[in-house]
Symmetry: C2
Subunit: 179 residues, 2 copies
């Protein structure tokens, strides 16, 4: 068939973490390392989410990203559109008015309305989009909460604060050994 990019996958995973962070901003670097994905690549994904109004970024030392609105108000479709743009499923080449018997001037009946094949593809695309629109970040968060044990949340919070602390000279001795 076709294929949604890994950027979409990264984005949704990150947004799920943001949904669980209770409004506190998380940096893209932390999110990348927490999930074992590329920092620089993730850094190119968040601006798209910001332009789409899904997250808001704050610059500076304790900056990062937080959700622009409640998780229940963010659908999977909105995320996909933010990342992928509005590339259609099917790109009609209008072959119907290229028929050899028409010569250079295809008749009106051949070019009027939407190509029947295109119409089917549009309906299929709409069905997919409807399904994506029917699921929100809140739904995903509930599913996740049903699987993860309570102590996991604490472990992640520890990991976050430890990371923040390691950066401040005066706590952990982790000067990042160069390779």
């Amino acid at each position: 068939m076709a294929h949604l990019t890994v950027s979409v996958e990264y984005a949704i995973h990150c947004l799920l973490w943001l949904a669980g962070s209770a409004g506190a901003p998380l940096s893209s670097r932390d999110l990348a390392e927490l999930q074992g994905i590329s920092q620089s690549f993730l850094a190119k994904i968040f601006p798209k989410l910001e332009k789409a109004g899904i997250v808001v970024g704050s610059e500076g030392v304790r900056g990062g990203y937080r959700l622009a609105r409640a998780p229940a108000e963010i659908s999977v479709l909105q995320i996909v559109d933010a990342i992928e743009g509005d590339k259609p499923l099917f790109d009609c080449q209008e072959i119907r008015d290229r028929c050899a018997v028409f010569g250079d001037a295809p008749p009106v009946w051949a070019t009027a309305g939407v190509c029947a094949i295109h119409a089917v593809m549009l309906k299929a695309e709409q069905a997919m989009r409807d399904e994506l629109a029917a699921h929100t970040l809140a739904d995903l968060a509930v599913t996740f909460a049903g699987k993860a044990p309570p102590e996991f949340i604490l472990q992640v919070q520890d990991w976050m604060t430890e990371r923040a602390g390691a950066r401040k000279p005066g706590r952990q001795s982790k000067p990042e050994p160069p390779s």
Copy 2:
């Protein structure tokens, strides 16, 4: 979003012509020229349709392709699958068990079952496939027949026979002037 290839579009258009040819085989070269698309490219598409059991090819001089079964028994989904293979809409990277707090050994609860995000994508893909499966070549042929005037069918038949005649030395004088 993602994107169905032009091969799918070419295939469906060609199959529609085959559906209207009343069992008479049409050559891929004729079909390409009739629709103003590449002959050599179209020649790479038909073997896929044949392997999928949608068309049957006959070699030799008056050979070509014809439908393997009735148009009503050929869904758009079958054509798409024949051309594109079974590439999934979403290719889950299993990020969930890559979480940094897990270290090298992700717990069972994190890897059990289907990833929640993946599950949403699977439902969306299924919705799209259901819609594609709901439309057949026969449906498309009906829509087309509702638009094209009766004389168009005759014009195409003329075009076909004229092409066949031009090839036989002894009727039309069209020795294909070399460019």
